[in-house]
């Protein structure tokens, strides 16, 4: 197994007026290809900040972050955008779909911004991604015509569409009821089985139990990192 993510000494300091807030304090994290990881922790423990840094939405204040062996902590904004576009799929708690825009158009969006390859038929690829998340019959629906679970599936299809090596999901089931949460976790499980590395942030233990490795954070640091096999913590 090769490492998808090698992060060492990641720290993030926010300047809130006079006060410095240490959101991350020297996090070390290595993620192997094909892992299914959940990150747990209380609010303010730094898990979302870590996700943003791992997802190249935010620069760390210090530390080294290698994504697929490439140092991405010093990239310029355009290179950063390219990494977000082609190597990472991000799924949000609040879905963050474009309103009044069809599922198909939403999923197609990352392909329109891809400059690394000439995409012959972005619509066909978007349809394929929607089929993969089981929404083949909903492609022309707009977000307000879809249930919460379906919206999150559209968001996952959008994260998948440009074939990233890793999907980061920040509390993907936070806005869903337990049935939908289960469906979404099953979907993540299927995608992981197809070889995609997945990291999710969650509050809920039963969600975390569905993943293969559980990381617990507190006050901007990792306090527990265990492998989980079928609910049995080793």
């Amino acid at each position: 197994m090769s490492a998808v993510i090698e992060a060492s000494g990641i720290s993030k300091i926010y300047q809130m007026g006079e006060v410095e807030v240490h959101a991350l304090r020297g996090v070390d994290l290595t993620v192997e290809d094909g892992e299914f990881i959940s990150i747990m922790g209380a609010s303010g423990s730094g898990k979302s900040t870590l996700m943003n840094v791992l997802g190249c939405l935010d620069h760390p204040t210090s530390g080294e972050y290698l994504l697929n062996g490439r140092d991405v902590s010093e990239l310029n904004p355009n290179e950063f955008a390219e990494v977000r576009n082609t190597r990472i799929g991000f799924v949000f708690q609040v879905f963050n779909l474009l309103p009044r825009t069809t599922a198909l158009d939403n999923v197609e969006l990352p392909l329109l911004y891809d400059r690394t390859r000439r995409i012959k038929d972005p619509r066909a690829e978007a349809v394929a991604a929607l089929e993969r998340v089981g929404l083949a019959d909903r492609i022309t629906h707009e977000p307000n015509q879809l249930s919460g679970g379906e919206r999150q599936r559209v968001a996952i299809a959008r994260a998948l569409v440009n074939r990233p090596s890793i999907i980061l999901a920040d509390e993907p089931t936070g806005n869903l009821d337990s049935v939908m949460s289960l469906e979404i976790m099953e979907l993540f499980g299927e995608l992981n089985a197809q070889g995609i590395t997945i990291i999710i942030v969650t509050h809920e233990h039963d969600i975390a139990e569905a993943t293969g490795r559980i990381i617990e954070m507190k006050d901007g640091a990792i306090i527990r990192d265990v492998v989980n096999v079928g609910g049995q913590i080793e």
Binding site: D58, T86, N96, L98, R100, L109, P110, L112, Y113
Partner: protein, 405 residues
């Protein structure tokens, strides 16, 4: 991102706020429309003036008495009146580039005739005057060369004079009195209407130059000499030829200043055209201000739009849009707004101009150059006023934009 997708996104987000987009482009519609209509009116006026000057004989050359100077003080045009009937004869004899020559003697006098009287300007001219100024009689005959030689007491009335002295009847054959001298009316001139400068060209009485000079004006100096150049192109050469003849006639040494002035209608045409061109420019400039105001309207709405759609921008950035992608997207929206406004403005302006031209009777000439220019300018307004809001959107940080409520 491909242009097709950019346009699709821009049109989609603009049609989402139909009323707002409409009102925003209204500024550009009015601006572009105003520029085109104003310039059309200006160019129409220009064409009117040109036509009027040309109707006076486009290849006409005029000679005025010069101005005299003493101790560095100019006494003004005509202060040294040295033009005589002999000068006109010399030109007739020797000039090769002119086809017709006429003198003009101006006298103001009261005309008594019919049951009324009328104060007007009397022009003593030669028969060639008709040809030079393209001005003929509608009733009776113009006087002849013989009348000029005989200092005959005959007169041709302008339309205004005829209407005032002999309302409702043909004055040909009637008698009028000017300064106690009886004249016979031999003809009535066709109506010429107002001059380009607003005076009534029909308020005139014409008589042989000799009659006016010797019987009314007294003295030997005449007011002007008119000549027709063989063509408009020859106007300038004719001016030079006439200058040379008159300098010789007036015994001027080389280096001495002319004591007369020669002007061609071509020059007047140029001056008048220049004047109305400046006016057109001014009208256009005033209208262009409204286009700028329209542009500010676009900027205002685009700024609102960027704030409203901060989340959307955040989503786009999160899935891999670059700042430049967002910039181009918002810029495209602004340009589409401006160009749609520009197109509607052009259509509106064409409609208004046709209405003015056909229904109101004003001359309005739409020039394709101005239409193209206005269209490009509205696009430029879109770029200029859309750039700042678009840049603001492009500089958003994805995390902040996503969290924006």
């Amino acid at each position: 991102m491909r242009l097709r997708n950019l346009l699709k996104i821009a049109i989609k987000s603009l049609t989402r706020n139909r009323m707002r987009s409409l009102l925003t482009s209204l500024g550009v519609i009015i601006g572009v429309g105003a520029v085109i209509v104003m310039v059309a009116i200006g160019q129409g006026a220009q064409a009117d003036i040109e036509a009027q000057i040309t109707s006076l004989g486009a290849n006409m050359v005029m000679i005025f008495p010069g101005s005299s100077w003493s101790r560095g003080v100019s006494h003004g045009a005509g202060s040294q009146n040295r033009l005589t009937l002999d000068d006109a004869d010399a030109i007739r004899e020797r000039a090769t580039l002119v086809t017709a020559v006429s003198t003009e003697v101006r006298v103001n006098a009261q005309i008594i005739g019919g049951d009324s009287n009328w104060n007007t300007s009397i022009q003593g001219v030669d028969p060639e005057y008709q040809e030079i100024r393209d001005w003929y009689t509608v009733s009776g005959e113009f006087f002849t060369e013989r009348d000029v030689r005989a200092k005959a007491k005959v007169a041709v009335l302008g339309k205004t004079v005829a209407d005032n002295l002999f309302p409702g009847s043909d004055p040909v054959g009637e008698r009028i009195r000017i300064r106690n001298t009886p004249f016979k009316v031999v003809g009535v001139l066709e109506a010429k209407g107002q001059s380009a400068y607003g005076s009534d060209r029909d308020d005139v009485v014409m008589m042989p130059s000799t009659t006016a000079l010797y019987r009314l004006a007294g003295g030997r100096y005449i007011s002007r000499i008119f000549a027709s150049a063989v063509s408009i192109e020859a106007s300038e050469a004719a001016e030079e030829e006439l200058t040379a003849i008159l300098r010789e006639e007036h015994n001027l040494e080389p280096g001495e200043e002319d004591d007369f002035r020669v002007r061609s209608q071509a020059e007047f045409l140029e001056t008048a055209t220049e004047t109305s061109r400046v006016m057109t420019l001014l009208l256009g400039a005033v209208a262009a201000v409204s286009l700028v105001v329209g542009g500010i309207g676009i900027m205002n709405i685009m700024l609102v739009s960027v704030t409203e759609r901060t989340r959307e921008i955040g989503i786009r950035l999160a899935v891999g849009a670059r700042g430049s992608d967002v910039l181009v997207q918002f810029l495209t929206e602004a340009i589409v707004l401006a160009l749609v406004g520009g197109t509607v403005g052009i259509l509106l302006a064409v409609g208004v101009s046709v209405f003015l031209d056909r229904v109101i009777g004003m001359t309005a000439i739409i020039s394709p150059v101005i239409v193209a220019l206005a269209f490009c300018f509205s696009g430029a307004v879109g770029v200029f006023f859309g750039y700042y809001p678009a840049r603001k959107a492009a500089r958003l940080n994805p995390i902040d934009a996503l969290r924006y409520e």
